[in-house]
């Protein structure tokens, strides 16, 4: 039996205001870089918080490397970096690293310090005085210092300037190349994930809309352009028409009469997100 990095069965999370996630079935494979895509409020953060054990599901279950989150903290092989990069504000960077060391038996001090040094963050600086980019680098160093097999990053690039984004992604990818760890990262900016992710989980309205290997998904879909008189193919995700012309994104192979292209990741994701929104409305 394959062990997945994350594996959800009938997963649901109900808040006072309604369902944050509902009936979610998905598997994210190990050794891959998975993108968690969806608009704000789609349930991306909820999903990650369920995996860490910060939240307990209302229905169903989620397993991390085959184990449900227990009472003894987050799975030892799982690291989580929340969107607002929570750290102890009054601590210095060096003290934050010490906190990482005492809170984690699997801590790799040398490695965490190396990541901080590479980021050029002064160790005696108070966490509260760091820039967004530095804060992210420190939080990432502490997350990776646990030597996780799976790392969950919730909107890691939000609020970062382009240089800091590039730095963070390069650090992260280099560590993946070294350790072969599994990465799950969420974003509502799909362009950030193109070329980085090889697996996709698309959420909208608390439900899974699309999942799978990115290349397979791209190969299975076509952007079709043709006369609006033509018969629509099967598996239409989204169709837009002008007076004469129709542009269709469909889960299909080549269709006679239509000009067919493989979609880009962004085109594909946007089509699913727009169609989910149209259904909801």
């Amino acid at each position: 039996m394959t062990t997945y990095a994350l594996d959800a069965t009938a997963l649901g999370m109900r808040y006072r205001r309604g369902w944050g996630l509902r009936d979610c079935e998905f598997q994210l494979p190990t050794g891959r870089i998975s993108a968690l895509i969806g608009p704000n409020g789609a349930g991306k953060s909820t999903l990650m918080r369920l995996a860490t054990g910060l939240l307990r599901p209302t229905t169903g279950s989620i397993r991390v490397l085959g184990e449900e989150p227990g009472r003894h903290g987050t799975h030892r092989k799982l690291a989580f970096l929340a969107q607002d990069k929570p750290l102890y504000r009054g601590f210095t960077v060096a003290e934050m690293l010490r906190a990482g060391a005492v809170l984690n038996p699997s801590w790799d001090d040398e490695y965490a310090w190396r990541l901080v040094r590479e980021a050029d963050v002064p160790p005696q600086a108070k966490v509260g005085t760091l820039s967004g980019g530095q804060r992210t680098r420190v939080a990432l160093a502490i997350a990776l210092g646990r030597r996780p097999e799976v790392v969950l990053l919730d909107e890691p690039l939000a609020d970062l300037d382009p240089l800091a984004r590039e730095d963070v992604m390069r650090t992260l990818m280099a560590e993946v190349a070294d350790s072969g760890m599994t990465v799950v990262l969420s974003s509502h900016v799909i362009a950030d994930l193109d070329g980085v992710c090889d697996h996709l989980l698309l959420l909208a309205g608390g439900r899974v809309r699309l999942q799978g290997d990115v290349e397979d998904l791209l190969a299975q879909h076509r952007v079709l352009i043709g006369s609006r008189e033509l018969v629509m193919p099967d598996g239409v995700v989204e169709a837009r028409t002008t007076e004469r012309q129709a542009t269709v994104i469909a889960r299909t192979g080549p269709v006679p009469g239509w000009e067919a292209d493989e979609p880009s990741l962004e085109e594909l994701a946007m089509a699913y997100l727009r169609s989910a929104r149209a259904v909801a409305a």
């Binding site: 918080r49 227990g70 003894h72 987050t74 989580f80 929340a82 601590f91 005492v102 809170l103």
Partner: protein, 288 residues
């Protein structure tokens, strides 16, 4: 986790312990000084001091308790830092228990010691106060003061988990604590032991027993209605010995037994609040 909790709470702990130490030093000095003076000199020198000291020691348990307990969880949750703490390799229970112990134990123990120091200093000033068992002398010395601090602290800590707001948690601690203290002092403490009964004479005043009920009896010791027997001239009635004052009271030597019971009551309430906190932490609390 102990180091992390200490690093987070050390400022609060050190400030509290500094206040406690300063007060203890003042008490020790006063205790020695008052013992070297005669009664009138003590009254002149320490009359005002005792009033202020009692006021301060009545307020201190709830202030230090709320100061330690209110922000303990509330501030960490306000800042979102609990998401960091709880996604490391330690469970919620250890996080909660360690923070409680590191922030709470020093102030509770410190206040208990302060109460004992004050109990040592108190006899030197005993002519300035009423019964040691009565409000407010009882509350400011002995071991109960530590238990009061524990209640204020656990109220603040548990409220912080629930309301997740530092100010709200501290206010809850104060607003919750004061009525309990008043209710226990007036409603519960007189019943910690069966009061003794007797006709009041001057020795009782010297011993400073705590009078909890007063009634009137005739020469044979039967209860009487003062107004029915004496009419309007009450003073003459007493002079003639037709009516005497009978009181229910707790003698002064019950002080330490009462302190123990009172401390037990407040520690039990604190434990119940900790239990509520633990239950909330596991069953009800969405910490994200």
């Amino acid at each position: 986790m102990t180091w992390v909790a200490w690093r987070q709470q050390r400022l609060q702990v050190l400030i509290s312990l500094a206040i406690i130490t300063a007060l203890a030093a003042v008490m020790v000095y006063t205790g020695f000084d008052a013992r070297s003076l005669d009664e009138t000199a003590v009254e002149d020198k320490y009359g005002m001091y005792l009033g202020y000291l009692q006021l301060l020691l009545l307020a201190l348990p709830v202030l230090l308790g709320a100061f330690a307990g209110g922000p303990l969880f509330a501030r960490e949750i306000e800042q979102g830092a609990h998401v960091f703490s709880l996604t490391q390799s330690i469970g919620r229970t250890r996080w909660w228990a360690t923070k409680i112990a590191v922030a709470g134990l020093p102030v509770v123990l410190g206040m208990t010691l302060l109460g004992l120091v004050n109990a040592w200093a108190d006899p030197a000033l005993s002519t300035l106060r009423g019964a040691r068992l009565a409000i407010p002398s009882f509350e400011v010395q002995g071991v109960a003061i530590g238990a009061y601090t524990a209640l204020a602290f656990t109220l603040g800590a548990t409220a912080g988990l629930l309301v997740r707001n530092t100010l709200g948690a501290m206010v809850t601690a104060i607003v919750g604590y004061v009525p309990v203290l008043i209710a226990v002092g007036n409603g519960l403490r007189p019943h910690y032991a069966e009061p003794q009964g007797g006709v009041v004479d001057s020795t009782m005043l010297r011993e400073k027993a705590w009078r909890v009920e007063t009634s009137y009896v005739d020469g044979a010791g039967n209860p009487v209605d003062l107004r029915a027997v004496c009419g309007d001239d009450v003073n003459r009635c007493f002079e003639e010995g037709k009516v005497r004052v009978h009181a229910l009271f707790h003698p002064d030597d019950r002080f330490w037994a009462f302190q123990a019971v009172e401390a037990g009551v407040f520690l039990a309430l604190s434990a119940a609040l900790l239990g509520l906190g633990a239950w909330v932490l596991h069953r009800r609390l969405r910490l994200a």
